[in-house]
């Protein structure tokens, strides 16, 4: 399939203060090829893609596009040359229609009947059903992504860059996307595909370039590799899978009994009659596409919003729905919110002070209203050494840590309090494979000590790896939890798409 190269990259280097993001990177993307760009966070993928799309500029090296020298000054120049990009975070206006959004993105675009027709044609020919007159605010995440893709295709690009396109999709939606991408390839358009989901790269791509520390470390045919061998190329060492202990479930430690809570935001999700139980020694996963009530559930579980019915949340037999975060922590709960900067930690405060946020009660860091800084510093030091947090010192601000290191610090802060009930949202989001394995291991070890753990995550692989049982949250409702060994990714995927209950039973047939 790969013929004359569309894009040739020759020895591109780019330095930022203190870090060499790209170090003499060379590779080429063939015509009609789906080319994977693989690497851990911080490997230099984003920088490289931004250089190709004209957002960043290389310090040295050169590129050729269709055989001609190519050095875009800005994204509009890249687009007019034939390079399109679909970003991970969509840039769409909720209050405008599909056609209006597309028109805004086109260089020469004026909304009109002609454009509507073109949108429908392009959408249909690539298997992307789309109604140009609908407002973005009413579309699902998958449909919004279609708008971005159609907008990109209308420019008739020769190369499309896709940055983690499936991270927001259910497995079924991802399947539809793959069919579209294959059709785009058949039209002769190349795709540069960034992802760290190795199975999908093996299914979709015929070549893969692996980056590590800013350099190309491997170039391979992913169809001939295993997910494990690809992962090891990315991290540069053998991957240690988290070791499971024999699960001995004990008494019920966390119970949700018909938890119902109307959303506090106009665009939020109402929690509807959620019931769930997590027993001692057990890790229960809650899968779901972002924006289906996870944030609202986390708010209610932490106690940031209290629930009028105390019995809606029961910890170790005690109703606590009406209590605030401090009282819940005193009961033995600990929480890892999804957003580490600004929610789990204060960016501008030292690590020492950040320990006090959630550990004041259980680690006795505040006594008689006075802060015990010595104890806080000791605890911060303990977290740093136990979780291998790379930092210049505990007196440094949280924002000076890399995402993965801060996540290790946040998880460590909660796990080392030895909680009876731990609730973690997206515990390994944006964390490299090594750190993710360490975090998973710490959760498994904590459960083995008799804690009940609830993991809320969009990463199905993560949940399948560490959880004993998995439930699905969709539209603010939670499906009954089922043993991980007895559910398939397809079933969970269907439930994530909103077909809970009945959908699970017939799931295999649909997939």
């Amino acid at each position: 399939m790969a013929g004359q190269p569309i894009l040739e990259i020759d020895s591109i280097s780019k330095a930022f203060p203190g870090v060499l993001a790209n170090d003499r990177v060379s590779f080429s993307v063939g015509a009609g090829e789906i080319h994977a760009l693989l690497g851990e966070n911080g490997a230099g993928k984003s920088t490289l893609v931004k250089i190709i799309y004209g957002v960043n500029h290389a310090d040295s090296g050169s590129m050729r596009f269709l055989g001609r020298p190519y050095r875009p000054e800005r994204p509009s120049e890249a687009r007019s040359t034939g390079v399109g990009m679909v970003f991970q975070h969509f840039s769409l206006f909720d209050a405008l229609t599909v056609a209006e959004n597309v028109a805004l993105g086109l260089e020469d675009g004026q909304p009109g009947t002609g454009l509507d027709q073109r949108i429908v044609e392009v959408a249909r020919s690539y298997g992307l059903p789309l109604d140009p007159s609908r407002r973005i605010g009413t579309l699902s995440v998958g449909e919004r992504q279609r708008v971005e893709i159609v907008r990109c295709l209308l420019q008739r690009p020769r190369l499309i860059i896709m940055d983690e396109p499936t991270s927001v999709l259910t497995p079924q939606e991802a399947g539809m996307l793959f069919a579209t991408l294959r059709r785009i390839r058949e039209e002769g358009c190349s795709i540069l595909y960034i992802s760290h989901k190795l199975e999908e790269i093996r299914a979709l791509c015929e070549r893969a370039t692996v980056l590590r520390g800013g350099r190309v470390v491997a170039s391979t045919d992913p169809r001939k590799e295993t997910a494990k061998s690809l992962a090891e190329m990315m991290i540069g060492s053998a991957l240690k899978a988290p070791a499971r202990h024999e699960t001995l479930t004990g008494a019920s430690r966390l119970e949700l009994n018909g938890l119902t809570l109307p959303s506090s935001h106009p665009f939020g999700v109402d929690l509807a009659d959620i019931s769930l139980e997590v027993r001692a020694g057990e890790i229960v996963g809650l899968a779901g596409v972002a924006g289906n009530g996870q944030d609202e559930l986390m708010e209610a579980l932490i106690g940031e919003r209290r629930v009028a019915v105390p019995r809606a949340i029961v910890v170790d037999g005690v109703p606590i729905g009406h209590q605030g975060p401090s009282a819940r922590r005193a009961r033995g709960m600990a929480f890892v919110p999804e957003e580490r900067l600004g929610h789990a930690a204060v960016p501008d405060m030292a690590l020492t002070d950040n320990t006090i946020l959630s550990a004041a009660e259980r680690m006795r860091l505040i006594r008689g209203g006075l802060i015990d800084r010595t104890a806080a510093a000791r605890f911060a030091g303990e977290i740093v050494s136990a979780f291998g947090v790379k930092t210049a010192g505990i007196e440094h601000q949280a924002r000076s840590l890399s995402g993965g290191n801060l996540q290790k610090f946040v998880v460590g802060r909660e796990v080392l309090q030895d909680p009876g009930v731990l609730i973690a949202a997206q515990p390994t989001w944006g964390v490299d494979a090594g750190a993710a394995a360490a975090i998973h291991q710490s959760l498994i070890d904590l459960a083995a000590k008799g804690a009940a753990i609830l993991v809320i995550s969009q990463d199905l692989d993560e949940l399948m790896t560490i959880c004993d049982r998995i439930a699905v949250i969709a539209g603010g409702r939670v499906s009954p939890a089922r043993p991980t060994a007895k559910v398939s990714v397809e079933e969970i995927g269907l439930a994530m798409g909103g077909q809970s209950g009945a959908g699970v039973a017939s799931g295999a047939g649909h997939a």
Partner: protein, 362 residues
């Protein structure tokens, strides 16, 4: 081309250096300004910034001016750290003076040692009550405390006028809109005889030390920092926003009220319509110039006090316009805010500003 590059971490040295830079830049701009209007710039700067320090009178007057500034600013700084913007300290100052002064006048014929403490309590309560209005409206209806507290300042000024024109007017004062002079036991004791330096100065010092302790060691100091820097993290930690809003507004209101009472009882000895002279607004500059830190506020309060005394001196000695004081105070705040960018950014000489900005934006 110059360009700004975000620092990985806020620079501590810049945090402390920028107030001094701002003072230097203010002086430099003042020199240019005076030269433009044809006055001897060096003489003007020397009269404003150095002359007052050469006499006992100048120094004690400086302390008298700095006392309300420091008292108010210390209280405001607590809220400012938490992102609670009490801009109406001037009104709370007025209401504190009015409440405390009314107590002094009510017990005019019953002198006693208990009177001054009672006046102080009334003054603090008056200021706190005035600050309670924005606190209630913010916590109950989410009303913006900046607007509410600011507008209440003008209401407070009018209430003071009504009172000194009416019920509190001096019965023997020939219809002048002033209260009678407070009885001796309603006057704050003077520290140095022959000057106006009163014990309020010591109270301001105690407030500075107490606040410094609370900020460094007490839970409340952590709560306001977290609430100001990351409100979501404050909710995560279980810190109550409502309680913090109330505490910050009540404390700053009480300190402002106390400052107003000290001014009425210590400096003036009566209630007059012209009692509010803008200390409540200048204290905002003091709070920021002092980096919202009590010790910094002490230094900044003295500096701003200096611009009041020095400004008056310059008016008399060089017939400069009276606006010179406000111009200097405004420039100080302006340069400080401008310099603040250096705390989080460093200046680089770059050849491709557009690329750098694009990279920052991504």
């Amino acid at each position: 081309m110059l360009r700004l590059e975000r620092r990985k971490e806020a620079s501590r040295s810049m945090l402390y250096a920028t107030p001094f830079l701002a003072v230097l830049l203010t002086m430099a701009a003042g020199i240019v300004l005076f030269a433009l209007i044809g006055k001897d710039p060096l003489r003007a700067i020397s009269i404003i910034f150095f002359q007052p320090l050469t006499s006992v009178y100048g120094v004690t007057e400086l302390l008298v001016k700095a006392t309300p500034l420091v008292l108010i600013a210390v209280g405001l700084s607590l809220g400012f750290r938490a992102g609670i913007w009490n801009i109406g300290a001037e009104g709370q100052y007025t209401m504190g003076a009015l409440a405390g002064g009314a107590v002094a006048l009510a017990f005019y014929d019953q002198p006693g040692l208990w009177l001054l403490p009672l006046m102080c309590v009334a003054g603090a309560a008056g200021g706190a009550a005035w600050a309670a209005i924005p606190a209630f409206l913010k916590t109950r209806f989410n009303a913006n405390e900046i607007l509410v507290s600011l507008m209440l300042t003008y209401v407070a000024g009018l209430i003071l006028s009504v009172m000194v024109f009416g019920p509190l007017r001096d019965p023997e004062g020939l219809s002048f809109p002033e209260s009678r002079l407070f009885h001796d036991s309603a006057r704050l004791p003077v520290l140095i005889s022959g000057t106006r330096a009163h014990v309020g100065i010591l109270v301001a010092l105690v407030a500075v030390l107490l606040t410094a302790f609370v900020l460094a060691r007490h839970r409340f100091g952590l709560v306001i920092r977290v609430l100001g820097a990351a409100p979501a993290a404050a909710r995560f930690a279980g810190f109550s926003e409502t309680a913090t809003v109330w505490t910050c507004l009540l404390v700053s209101g009480a300190l402002s009220g106390l400052a107003g009472l000290f001014e009425a009882s210590g400096t003036l000895g009566q209630l007059v319509p012209a009692l509010p002279v803008g200390y409540g607004f200048t204290a905002i500059i003091v709070a920021f110039l002092g980096r919202l830190h009590p010790v910094g506020i002490l230094a900044a309060g003295l500096l701003l006090g200096l611009t009041y005394i020095g400004g008056e001196g310059a008016q008399i000695a060089m017939s400069l316009p009276s606006a010179v004081t406000s111009v200097f105070q405004g420039m100080l705040l302006f340069f400080l805010l401008a310099m603040d960018v250096l705390v989080n950014y460093r200046i680089r000489l770059g050849s491709r500003p557009a690329a750098a900005i694009a990279a920052e934006a991504e």
